[in-house]
């Protein structure tokens, strides 16, 4: 049994403890230590990516009793649904640390410890195979974020972090109740106490039980993702958090909310899902338009990206609840694509803001002339964000919109207008910041990307280009797990019934399954 996953979770914890031994005034040492630890973790994590076998279901599994009398175990493993988020955590942590380099000037040890612990919490949450363990990690990842916003955030950081924590806590405590209810229910039905996730899938409930539990789980994940109208913590938290934290929040933590739908909500309550899915898709569609349209009239660049993030996360929600292989595969793929593009946009806006001390769009203008590299980087990421084919955003968007169209035509049609709105708000942002003459004296001699900044954007840009050019790198690892997910939750039937006549050569009833599994 490989202990790779445990090592990946524990290494940052150890590193953050080790950091306490470094004197607080040795700032470069602290930063280097944190960066080194995160890079080491990433290097180890590559073993996860390259060792992952697409068809093999859960891998790198580890299981140990924790509180056996209560049926709680330390059980972790990774499959195609969680692999990407796990990799994102590992890849983006060093990026975030590098982005914090000059931004964070005080209480460095605390900050970098938070950053490392955040990674552990998020990784733990996505690989947990035990519901109790998941909940522990789910709450653990909230704490570092709470401190990062509250201590190192902007002017209204206290308000923002309180709102963020209370809001998400309301959701997750309700979910905790629901978890316990399910736990007791399983015992009542089967006579054993267990938090093992697959054992808790699709228990039989009375309608009232089912809908209350569904509601509690849904609310927790809907707040985290966020799904409209549970998003109002987002603009404040995203804008007030120090940007590297915003980066982790939007790039990874939001995805864990969406991942929660896939891992817990849908398989635990497939029946309720079937009924509720069209309505949730509607929420997604609405959130997509709502976020995009509000982004159109933002005057603060960071807030604009925050609303665009809401808009993109809404497409993910829509794709997931399309409940077909296109929508779900697209959403899982888009976890990564959105993390890179929106994450990079937040970082680029931070770089702009650091130079001028403001994020007000009107304060810029004509920057392209002074800072060509920065401009190229921004336009490149913009194109990824608006889903230009050839970059990875397109692959996800295409599949999600296709899935939505296949599940509910009108929703798919309206959602596809999103390709117009995203172009509008992003291109208007680009031209207001970068084009035209430099009109403000403060923008004369605007500094171009530094080498450190280039190293922050470059890996993201390279991954965006590669996974857009050759998305099979990722899709081939994701798709079998999505198929398995659809089989196991019973949503594959509808898709296959449609796909069955597709196989021109074979007319046997067994054909659809074979068709779905391999190609």
């Amino acid at each position: 049994m490989s202990h790779l996953l445990s090592i990946l979770i524990l290494l940052p914890v150890m590193a953050s403890l080790g950091m306490l031994l470094i004197p607080a005034d040795r700032k470069p040492v602290i930063k280097t230590w944190a960066l080194g630890a995160s890079l080491l973790n990433l290097a180890l994590g590559l073993g996860l990516w390259f060792g992952f076998k697409p068809e093999a279901g859960f891998q790198f599994a580890e299981k140990a009793d924790w509180l056996p009398s209560l049926g709680i175990s330390y059980h972790i493993g990774v499959d195609g649904l969680s692999l990407l988020i796990a990799m994102l955590t590992l890849i983006l942590t060093p990026v975030a640390i590098l982005a914090s380099w000059n931004r964070i000037q005080h209480k460095l040890r605390g900050y970098y410890a938070c950053m490392l612990l955040l990674g552990s919490g998020m990784l733990g949450a996505v690989v947990a195979r035990d519901l109790f363990l998941f909940y522990v990690f789910w709450e653990v990842m909230l704490l570092p974020m709470f401190f990062m916003i509250g201590v190192w955030g902007g002017e209204k950081r206290v308000f923002a972090t309180t709102k963020f924590v209370v809001y998400t806590l309301v959701g997750s405590l309700l979910m905790f109740l629901a978890i316990l209810y399910v736990y007791f229910k399983h015992q009542a039905l089967n006579g054993t106490w267990t938090f093992d996730i697959p054992s808790l899938y699709a228990l039989s409930y009375s309608p009232t039980e089912m809908w209350l539990l569904f509601g509690a789980f849904f609310l927790a994940f809907a707040i985290k993702t966020p799904v409209w109208p549970f998003h109002s913590w987002l603009p404040d938290a995203y804008t007030q958090a120090p940007t590297p934290a915003t980066f982790m929040l939007s790039a990874v933590m939001a995805k864990i909310g969406a991942y929660g739908f896939l891992r817990f909500l849908i398989p635990m309550f497939p029946e309720a899902t079937r009924t509720a899915a069209p309505f949730i898709m509607l929420l997604g569609m609405f959130g997509l338009l709502y976020g995009a349209w509000i982004a159109l009239v933002q005057t603060d660049a960071k807030r604009l990206i925050a609303y665009s993030s809401l808009s993109h996360m809404s497409i993910i929600v829509m794709g997931i609840f399309a409940l077909n292989q296109f929508g779900i595969t697209g959403s899982v793929f888009y976890f990564m694509a959105h993390a890179m593009a929106t994450g990079a946009l937040f970082l680029l806006v931070m770089m702009l803001a650091e130079r001028r001390g403001t994020r007000e769009i009107a304060q810029f203008g004509g920057i392209a002339k002074a800072a060509p590299w920065l401009t190229v980087a921004f336009i490149f990421i913009t194109m990824a964000s608006v889903g230009l084919p050839g970059l990875n955003g397109f692959v996800g968007e295409f599949l999600m919109l296709m899935g939505a169209y296949g599940a509910a035509n009108p929703i798919g049609v309206i959602a596809t207008t999103g390709v117009i709105w995203s172009a509008c708000y992003m291109l208007w942002l680009v031209s207001r910041i970068f084009f035209g003459e430099i009109t403000r004296p403060e923008n004369q001699g605007f500094k171009d990307l530094t080498l450190r900044e280039a190293f922050i954007i470059l890996p993201l840009a390279a991954l965006i280009a590669w996974t857009g050019f050759y998305p099979q790198t990722v899709l081939s690892k994701v798709e079998p797990s999505v198929q398995a997910f659809l089989q196991q939750t019973g949503f594959a039937a509808a898709v296959e019934a449609k796909a069955a006549p597709a196989d021109g050569e074979s007319h046997t009833p067994a054909a659809p399954a074979a068709h779905a599994d391999g190609h």
């Binding site: 309180t162 007791f184 595969t329 004509g366 291109l427 449609k498 796909a499 190609h519």
Partner: protein, 672 residues
């Protein structure tokens, strides 16, 4: 029998490599605050499309060596997106249609790259320009060679990106940058239709046949489509074509696109990219042909746009705006051509391919003379130190003899004067429209519009030509400093002029063969690619030879009338300003106020809605609720507090307490 060729991928690969190389050089030298060496950049920039052109020629002969029915070469490079039944590969299809397109794109592209070396020689963004232009070549070749709709879409949006970058090339001018935005966004409106078209076809085939978006696969299953489904799919795709090919009302971006450097207008916004919509309709002809109405919609939109844009062109004073609207108008003709092609196929199976070929022939000839017109205008603008107003020119003939002669040929060609290329291609479309009247009388209306528009075309083109080159100079200073362009610019002009003279003979109608000219070469070449599932001879009603000659006489006659009017009004006695300005002139000058209408009907309401959502719904609605929930709660419990960090703790305590209470309840309830 399927044939493959490993060479196809090289065609888009070369410009991609050169684009990347020049791009890196640009960034590298930008870092050192200087320009990349121009000689090296020029050499690399021309090498890319030239290499592609040479490979295209080799491929053309490979293709021609195959028996006619088997003329299709494929290359599957790598799997791209495989999800369940969706199997998209990075794969290329070279058939007579795409072969013709790549020859045209790389051939004219090479000439325009060459020309650009001269045109852009004093520009600070010299190398940046060429990296974009090479990237455009790559995207355009992917668009043409892609073997499935989604891969075509990659090129489709790729050319949109390059168009955006090149329109806003001089980005310090915010108006130019915003013209780039406008182009990208208008194209996105079209792409919305393209995407939906793909979704529709995919799911329709998934439910009724084999799910695929490959051209070959879709064509094989054409019989699966019901007329209703084919109409829906075809019209959705056509929305995409309307965006890319600037058809009303999505034409608004093309005139603004003239903000880019003039060679860009020649290559992207005249010769190649904007014809992508026509190419797509021809490529998907088998689908359009199943629908009884799609072809008619395409032809009608084309006819309307042709006339509409020709009217606008009459009143413009910017030389490039005149040409831009003439492009919109000529694109309208192309859509009449391909629209009638699929319409004929629908009513007389097997008859459509030749008609479709006529539409594509206009794409082909137009690429030559319109590229020439734009490059010529570039030469004029260059000579006049960036002046674009034809009312400030005049009498340039003696100063720019080569430009005058070559542009004159192109102007005659677009006016439809034989034996130049434009005559043959436009005549074929008009004849087809006339024949269509035999099947549905109202289609004679399209013929009438086409005929009338060709008179207008002759008028406004010669208005531009006379005002630029003839009469007395209206701005002596500009005239004194005007000079002919260097050889690197005049050579492409001459090459394209030669093309404008000869390519028309590639598709000589039978009636004009005079016993020795080979006829219908172009249509015969395209036939295997364009035939829409029905082999065999066409049995279209065909007018008598004398009618044919009458039709030609009518077209030539009306063109001569147009030229005559232009001569009388603008050349004979050179006016200093527009001779008469009326209300009608004002409306044409303002382009029928379409931009203003879009602003008032679409953009303003959208922004109003967005501000409402932002302020009233988001900030004062949802957020207000959330922010005040704790306050209300605090009020209830008599612990009035504003939001503070303390809240988190007290809430957590309360919640944990409550949780334990519920826990106890579960335990007692469920343990029973």
């Amino acid at each position: 029998m399927e044939h493959t060729s490993p060479l196809i991928g090289l065609v888009p690969l070369f410009p991609l490599l050169t684009a990347a190389l020049i791009g890196l050089m640009t960034l590298f030298f930008a870092h050192k605050n200087q320009g990349a060496p121009k000689g090296l950049v020029s050499a690399i920039a021309v090498a890319g499309p030239l290499a592609s052109f040479l490979v295209s020629c080799v491929l053309f002969f490979q293709l021609r060596a195959l028996p006619e029915a088997e003329r299709a070469l494929t290359q599957n490079v790598f799997p791209w997106i495989h999800v369940g039944p969706l199997k998209l590969d990075a794969a290329f299809l070279l058939d007579p249609l795409s072969a013709m397109m790549i020859l045209m794109v790389t051939g004219i592209g090479t000439l325009i790259h060459l020309y650009s070396i001269g045109y852009m020689s004093h520009d600070r963004g010299f190398s940046r320009y060429f990296s974009y232009l090479n990237l455009f070549m790559f995207s355009m070749l992917i668009l043409v060679l892609g073997s499935s709709l989604p891969l075509m879409f990659v090129g489709w949006e790729g050319v949109g990106l390059c168009s955006y970058l090149l329109i806003g090339f001089w980005f310090t001018d915010i108006a130019k940058a915003n013209a780039g935005n406008k182009a990208f966004i208008a194209n996105r409106v079209g792409d919305f239709g393209f995407l939906l078209g793909m979704f529709f076809i995919f799911f329709f085939l998934m439910n009724h046949g084999t799910a695929t978006l490959d051209f070959a696969g879709m064509k094989e299953q054409a019989a699966v489509f019901t007329p209703y489904a084919a109409t829906a799919a075809a019209l959705l795709l056509f929305v995409g074509a309307m965006g890319k090919s600037a058809q009303f009302p999505l034409h608004v971006w093309l005139a603004d696109a003239m903000a880019g450097p003039t060679p860009v207008s020649a290559l992207i916004h005249a010769a190649t990219m904007v014809t992508a919509g026509v190419y797509m309709v021809a490529r998907m002809g088998f689908l359009f042909a199943i629908s009884p109405s799609a072809g008619l919609v395409v032809a009608s939109v084309g006819a309307f746009t042709a006339l509409f844009a020709a009217f606008i062109a009459i009143a413009q004073s910017d030389i490039k705006k005149v040409l831009a609207y003439s492009t919109v108008s000529q694109l309208g003709y192309m859509f009449i051509g391909v629209g009638l092609g699929v319409y004929f196929e629908n009513i007389v199976a097997g008859a459509g391919a030749a008609v479709l070929a006529a539409g594509m022939f206009h794409v082909f000839t137009h690429a030559f003379f319109k590229a020439l017109l734009f490059l010529g205008s570039g030469s004029v603008i260059h000579a006049c130190h960036e002046e674009q107003d034809i009312w400030k020119m005049g009498g340039l003939k003696s100063k720019l003899p080569i430009t005058w002669a070559t542009m004159g040929i192109a102007t005659l060609a677009i006016a439809g004067i034989p034996p130049l290329a434009g005559f043959f291609s436009k005549e074929a479309i008009l004849t087809n429209a006339f024949i269509a009247g035999h099947y549905q009388t109202w289609l004679l209306g399209i013929y009438a519009i086409g005929l009338f528009t060709s008179g207008l075309t002759a008028f406004y083109m010669f208005r531009m030509f006379f005002l630029t080159f003839h009469g007395k100079p209206r701005d002596q200073h500009i005239h004194d400093h005007a000079h002919e362009s260097p050889a690197v610019m005049t050579f492409p002009l001459l090459a394209l002029a030669l093309g404008t003279v000869v390519v028309g003979f590639l598709n000589v109608p039978k009636v004009l063969s005079f016993g020795f000219l080979p006829t219908d070469l172009f249509a015969t070449w395209l036939a295997p690619a364009l035939e829409m599932g029905h082999h065999g001879e066409a049995h279209l009603h065909h007018p008598s030879t004398s009618t044919d000659f009458l039709l030609m006489a009518a077209a030539i006659g009306i063109a001569l009338v147009g030229i005559g009017f232009a001569y009388a009004r603008y050349a004979k006695a050179t006016p200093a300003t527009e001779p008469t300005k009326t209300l009608w002139w004002e409306i044409l000058w303002e382009k029928f106020y379409v931009d203003e209408m879009i602003q008032a009907i679409v953009i303003e309401p959208l922004l109003k809605l967005s501000r409402f959502l932002r302020k009233s719904v988001d900030e004062e609605g949802l957020d207000y609720l959330v922010n005040n929930t704790p306050k209300a709660y605090a009020g209830l419990s008599n612990a009035v507090r504003v939001i503070q960090t303390g809240m988190v703790r007290s809430y957590a305590y309360l919640m944990v307490l409550g949780m334990f209470a519920i826990l106890l309840y579960f335990f007692l309830h469920l343990a029973k």
